[in-house]
């Protein structure tokens, strides 16, 4: 049974591997990061923090954008090429097809993140900045959770609207999620009952990617987070991924093709 999902997932991964776009993004990012790392020749104090901050921000943003675009275009592309017909003519259930697509997007996102990590490590050869590898591993794990969450969200949006609208909406939700954590902590105390209700509703509907972001800890060399935090973050991720994928399936299950 899992073989069918893997076969679908593999097509996305192979395509991501062979397309030039991801490598172009990585090369541009590498150029930017190498430029930032070269600043050490000016003997600036705290350069490594600057390098870490810039590179982690660029890495996460580029990965998120890639995942959103990749996830949102999966189904529209299948319709455009008409491969949806040949695939679903085979004995594969629609939920298996969707799950395979989701796994493929997440794998491609992790591949993209891996490439950025390679660039980051290459840049560190120039800056020789100190880095807690355990914390960096936790940072990558949390980024993996963010990828999973955003891929599921983009999938759902691609079921509800056109490709361009799905990409823009997913990006807007991502940006909203970035500021929501701060809004929840700062605004909540000063707002009325209605405002609080809105914030609480948004809290349950929109994932907050800022909660998966450990870059500040990496930059300021803070100690790694305890294991239970990672466990809670995983549960938080599943709290969104499962309903998003479930809803996507509910919409796709009986859709006329």
């Amino acid at each position: 049974m899992l073989r069918r999902q893997w076969l679908i997932a593999r097509t996305i991964f192979v395509e991501a591997l062979r397309r030039r776009e991801i490598y172009a993004i990585v090369l541009i990012t590498a150029g930017m990061l190498l430029l930032a790392s070269l600043l050490r020749f000016f003997d600036l104090q705290g350069l490594h923090k600057f390098y870490h901050e810039v590179s982690l921000k660029v890495m996460t943003t580029a990965t998120v954008l890639t995942v959103i675009v990749l996830a949102a275009r999966q189904l529209p592309r299948e319709f455009e090429r008409r491969t949806i017909y040949t695939l679903l003519a085979k004995p594969i259930a629609r939920w298996e097809f969707l799950l395979g697509k989701y796994v493929g997007v997440v794998l491609a996102g992790l591949f993209c993140l891996g490439l950025f990590m390679g660039v980051f490590c290459l840049g560190r050869l120039f800056t020789q900045a100190p880095l807690d590898w355990r914390l960096f591993g936790q940072f990558l794990f949390m980024q993996g959770l963010a990828i999973g969450c955003l891929a599921a969200l983009s999938f759902l949006l691609s079921m509800l609207m056109g490709l361009d609208a799905a990409i823009v909406t997913a990006m807007l939700i991502y940006l909203l999620g970035q500021v929501m954590t701060n809004a929840m902590t700062v605004v909540y105390e000063f707002t009325g009952a209605a405002g609080r209700a809105v914030l609480i509703t948004l809290n349950y509907l929109v994932p907050q990617p800022a909660l998966f972001d450990l870059s500040a800890k990496v930059v300021h060399e803070w100690p790694p987070v305890p294991a239970w935090v990672l466990g809670l973050a995983t549960l938080y991720c599943l709290m969104f991924v499962i309903p998003y994928l479930g809803l996507s399936y509910a919409l796709f299950r009986r859709r006329a093709l």
Partner: protein
């Protein structure tokens, strides 16, 4: 299981839109295709051929009526296990090699790796793509992609083949190769159901023809029988299926 018709369509209605915009693409279509038969499904553009075929595949749902394949509900996994399907136009994954695409489709059909390793080169040769297994599909022409499509449809040696617009996008050599493939499948008693605008193709391949117009069946008979009807109604001057087709469609369009 063995006694079921390969295709059983009963009082099929397929509608689009709602209210005043409601349009019936297929209205009360009933037919059967027995195992081992080769049946051509013809009609002018907008007659309801593609809607019917999509319903056979489970891509669309009947508004009314039933569709069963080998006794199983159309679109069910059990039905799809026994079908090979080729849509009118399909562009396959441009960043995958022909071999990989066939591994994907064969794998989805449940074939193991050893079988795929043996069958894929044979299939590529059969559809005129010998030696092209390691070429990315983005380098294939539309006709070559259609040949890949034929290969994916027959990869698991299905009991029933459903082709929407047979030979669409193929050059004369491709058409000839496809006809050879179909004749060989026919010799092996496979059921073949296809729609086509190429009436010569239908005439030369089919045991029986189902003709629809405006979502309704207007003829359902063996090719020689249709020829007899044509000759009888035409003072013995009937020549081809094309004349029969035009004879049925033109008066209906004029009305």
């Amino acid at each position: 299981m063995g006694n079921h018709a390969a295709i059983e369509v009963n009082q099929l209605h397929i509608g689009y839109g709602r209210g005043a915009r409601r349009h019936l693409a297929v209205a009360g279509l009933t037919f059967q295709v027995e195992p081992g038969e080769t049946v051509g499904f013809i009609g002018p553009n907008g007659a309801g051929k593609s809607s019917t075929i999509k319903t056979l595949m489970g891509f669309q749902y009947p508004t009314e009526g039933t569709v069963r394949l080998f006794g199983e509900q159309a679109g069910s996994i059990a039905a799809r296990r026994r079908i090979g399907y080729l849509p009118e136009v399909s562009l396959y994954y441009p960043f995958m090699k022909a071999r990989e695409v066939l591994e994907l489709y064969g794998g989805l059909q449940g074939l193991d790796r050893a079988t795929l390793k043996r069958r894929i080169p044979e299939l590529l040769e059969r559809v005129g793509l010998a030696g092209k297994g390691e070429t990315l599909l983005k380098h294939f022409s539309k006709g070559m992609q259609q040949r890949v499509g034929i290969a994916q449809a027959i990869i698991a040696d299905p009991d029933l083949l459903i082709f929407d617009e047979l030979s669409s996008g193929l050059d004369p050599v491709g058409r000839y190769d496809l006809r050879e493939v179909l004749l060989e499948l026919k010799r092996r008693n496979r059921t073949i159901f296809f729609s086509s605008h190429e009436l010569y193709e239908v005439e030369s391949l089919c045991d029986r023809v189902i003709m629809i117009h405006g979502g309704r069946k207007v003829a359902d008979a063996a090719v020689p029988e249709l020829m007899e009807q044509l000759k009888a109604g035409n003072g013995g001057r009937g020549q081809s299926l094309e004349e029969f087709f035009m004879g049925l469609i033109r008066p209906a369009e004029a009305a």
